[in-house]
């Protein structure tokens, strides 16, 4: 009987020790695996959207991702695939994406789940979409430039030859009659006008004279 009790005590001690070692090991593993990584919250609508950063899959919710630049692809059958270059760092640690429906089923799904899109829009108001982060550093507008039609032309240049000082300047060539139309075109491409410096031909601000 006494031997039995001793054996049980030994067993309990071994189990406790094993559990303690496993817990410590798990904590150390977590610390190492998460070391140097940014706690990043990913919000996807629909929730089962497949999101990859440089090919690696990530799920909805909290993830630990190394800081850096990535090629982001978000896709789901029936929805338009979303791609963009993004930067993950301590200041930019949220990814919020709501896919646009393409198929009839997807459109029906969206109309029944507008609440989820509204919630995402509210989240995006502070974090903005990933496309809103420091566009001047990414220069995605260059993909649309130069652009010319019979009313105006929009181009770009850099205002410094040094790579570290480079700043994009959007150039607009047109008459006074169509300047607002040229700016509207930039908005139609999905860019925020406030993110750029501009050089507008034959323009003098009368309020600065």
């Amino acid at each position: 009987m006494i031997d039995n009790n001793r054996n049980i005590i030994k067993l309990v001690a071994i189990v406790l020790l094993t559990f303690l070692l496993l817990s410590i090991g798990y904590s150390i593993y977590n610390s190492i695996s998460r070391s140097g990584k940014v706690q990043t919250v990913i919000n996807l609508v629909p929730r089962d959207t497949i999101l990859t950063l440089d090919g690696a899959k990530y799920k909805n919710g909290t993830n630990y991702i190394s800081a850096g630049e990535y090629d982001l692809i978000a896709s789901k059958e029936g929805f338009a695939t979303f791609t963009r270059k993004i930067t993950i760092n301590e200041d930019s640690n949220q990814i919020n994406i709501g896919l646009s429906p393409e198929s009839k089923e997807a459109t029906e799904w969206v109309s029944k789940n507008l609440k989820e899109y509204n919630l995402l829009e509210n989240i995006q108001d502070t974090q903005t979409s990933i496309a809103g982060e420091k566009l001047v550093n990414q220069y995605p507008i260059i993909e649309n430039l130069p652009y010319e039609n019979y009313l105006y032309s929009i181009g770009y240049k850099f205002n410094s030859t040094k790579p570290e000082d480079k700043q994009l300047v959007v150039t607009i060539h047109t008459s006074e009659q169509y300047r607002q139309d040229a700016l509207l075109q930039i908005e139609r491409w999905g860019f925020n006008l406030a993110d750029f410096n501009y050089e507008i031909s034959d323009y003098t601000n009368p309020f600065k004279i």
């Binding site: 189990v15 706690q39 509210n122 108001d125 169509y178 006008l193 406030a194 323009y203 309020f207």
Partner: protein, 205 residues
């Protein structure tokens, strides 16, 4: 032997359960909410869009780590959602801007003063322009709009200028040269939301 195995399994199960329970308990953080005098209540939604709390005074509550959306309510304030990411104990001040309806209700009373400031700053040219799309922002201490040339028409469009004014100590002042577009780089002191809204103003002839 069989008895030992059963005991072993029970202990393991208890330990695993205890660790999950501990992890669950530790995931809760103390969040001190301070509501502005205009905020009568604050609804707190988790990432699954489920309301988890509703507070109507300054108080400290426990919330799990994760993403939340806060919806404030009050007479004058905007009910625009506020995003909150909880990772640690912290103090959150809820001080929403005024609602669009309230700002609209006090708009006309401020417009005359802003026009006076424009007249005094640009006496030589301001008479050639009219204020359009005038709007108040934030807590009624920012305003902006368009200056449209009086001789402008659909077939003869003139430049449209955007201006921003700030009310400090009860006095309005124009804080930028009215310009075609407001940029964050040129006007880092103007809130981004104000810049974006004024840049989005369109004038229909």
């Amino acid at each position: 032997m069989k008895k030992k195995i059963i005991i072993l399994l029970i202990i393991l199960a208890l330990l695993v359960g205890a660790s999950f329970f501990l992890r669950y308990i530790l995931s809760f953080k103390n969040i001190d909410f301070t509501l502005s005098s205009n905020t009568s209540s604050l609804a707190i939604f988790n990432s699954k869009n489920v309301e988890v709390e509703n507070i109507n005074s300054n108080q400290s509550i426990k919330l799990q780590t994760g993403n939340y959306v806060l919806i404030p309510e009050g007479n004058k304030i905007s009910s625009d959602a506020i995003n909150l990411l909880i990772t640690k104990d912290e103090i959150i001040n809820i001080d929403p801007d005024y609602s669009n309806s309230y700002l609209d209700s006090i708009l006309e009373s401020e417009k005359a003063e802003v026009q006076t400031i424009l007249n005094s700053k640009y006496p030589n040219i301001i008479n050639s322009y009219s204020i359009k799309n005038y709007q108040l922002f934030k807590k009624g201490d920012w305003c902006g709009g368009l200056l449209v040339n009086n001789n402008s028409s659909f077939n003869n469009k003139k430049d449209i200028f955007r201006f921003v004014a700030k009310k400090t100590n009860g006095v309005w002042d124009i804080i930028n040269y009215p310009d075609l577009i407001l940029t964050s780089e040129n006007y880092p002191n103007i809130p981004r939301s104000v810049i974006n809204t004024i840049n989005s103003f369109k004038f229909d002839y």
